[in-house]
């Protein structure tokens, strides 16, 4: 998640004070990792410096900064471009799953047992996500869906790898 672009996007929705931006970011994108106040203001400072937002005059009220931030045309263009670009498709196989299976086979260890343990862990996580989907708001369901589809992809890879263990062992085994 790109914090500056997410904040810019929130500002495109409506001009906001830093405090409101932090609240909205934490609500929609924070997912247990809220932004620090200093991070919000330092990011807004950089966006202002780069001409992507402008800060209004200080407004009366409690707190040190009561400026309202407004996105500029440059900022809108940046958000538009970012939202139109696909994220890089990451090579998920180069992960710990792949490394563990290949290493286990190289070392003559029980790769099938590892895959079973990984399958159980994945299914347990999917069970937790299913519970979140059952009881949570729609935004949480969307995120849980995303996580579950990735876990399902891993599980399909685990199933296929299990079916290929014999062939793999003869290729990489010692």
């Amino acid at each position: 998640m790109s914090v500056p672009l997410a904040l810019l996007g929130l500002l495109e929705r409506e001009p906001s004070h830093g405090y409101d931006l932090k609240r909205d970011y934490d609500t929609y994108f924070g997912r247990g990792k809220p932004l620090s106040t200093s991070q919000v203001y330092s990011t807004l400072g950089r966006l202002a410096r780069d001409g992507k937002v402008v800060a209004g005059d200080p407004e009366p009220g409690a707190g040190p900064d009561r400026k309202r931030y407004v996105i500029t045309e440059l900022g809108v263009t940046e958000v538009e471009t970012w939202l139109a670009e696909p994220a890089e498709a990451e090579p998920h196989l180069q992960t710990v799953l792949f490394t563990k299976v290949v290493l286990a086979l190289m070392l003559g260890r029980d790769a099938a047992a590892y895959l079973d343990a990984q399958r159980a862990a994945h299914l347990q996580r999917m069970r937790e996500l299913t519970e979140i989907k059952r009881s949570g708001p729609l935004v949480d369901k969307l995120l849980a869906d995303h996580a579950m589809f990735h876990l399902e992809a891993d599980l399909r890879w685990i199933d296929l790898t299990e079916a290929r263990l014999g062939a793999l062992a003869s290729e990489v085994g010692r």
Binding site: R119, A120, L123, Q124, R127, L129, K133, E152, D159
Partner: protein, 228 residues
């Protein structure tokens, strides 16, 4: 608290001709539990489900329901047990096309000798619960896949079975519809205290269960318990 084993297989074997489908499969399902049986195609998971449900009889080993041997019962007794104590949901609803949706749902009650008016009234009570209001008089050709599967679910549960056997209950549905059907299945089973044995190749369906096991080459090879 002691958990009561309701459905059990002990070293069940079964071959179709020379092809072994089960090679000593054992498992125990406790009362009220939702168990998912997973495994690759051809692993024997559906055969195991059919043995547990008394649809197939193993060549050797034992199948028990509520402490009684199921595999040694006469077909007539097994048939009565299936009718009175079990409910079934399959991949495609398998509704009777000549009957209306409410008649399909009422069928287990009608077969059990319940009067038609009462059976239909009981059947109709499931329509609102499963989001099927207004579909009571439709026939299967006038229902979407998701609607037909919910009708099948209502039919499986209308007689309040002890065990619901489900074989790929969402296999023919899209993700969202499948999720809806599983939500309804789990909720209805929990509400009614129904034990569920579910065969699926879909991880997200298995994740709705309390526990899953994996069948490989006709044997139950993995059994994992939830941390909760």
């Amino acid at each position: 608290m002691t958990e009561t084993v309701l459905v059990e297989a002990r070293e069940a074997t079964l071959s179709f001709g020379r092809t072994p489908a089960l090679r000593g499969a054992s498992l125990a399902v406790t009362a009220g539990e939702i168990l998912a049986i997973m495994g690759p195609s051809g692993s024997g998971k559906s055969t195991l489900l059919h043995c547990l449900a008394g649809i197939l009889t193993p060549d050797s080993g034992e199948i028990r329901f509520d402490g009684r041997r199921l595999d040694t019962l006469r077909e007539r007794e097994r048939s009565a047990l299936r009718r009175e104590r079990f409910g079934f949901v399959f991949q495609s609803g398998q509704l009777v096309p000549e009957l209306t949706a409410e008649e399909n749902v009422a069928m287990p009650l009608l077969l059990a000798g319940v009067r038609r008016a009462r059976a239909l009234a009981e059947a109709r009570s499931w329509f609102g619960r499963l989001g099927l209001d207004g579909l009571e008089r439709r026939r299967s050709g006038e229902l979407s896949g998701g609607q037909a599967q919910r009708i099948a679910l209502a039919r499986a549960l209308v007689a309040r079975p002890d065990v619901l056997f489900a074989d790929e209950p969402t296999g023919a549905l899209d993700s969202l519809t499948g999720e809806h059907v599983m939500d309804l299945l789990v909720t209805a089973a929990r509400d009614g205290g129904t034990t569920v044995v579910l065969v699926t190749h879909e991880a997200r369906v298995a994740a709705c269960a309390d526990r899953e096991l994996v069948v490989r080459d006709g044997k139950v090879t993995t059994l994992t318990r939830t941390a909760s």
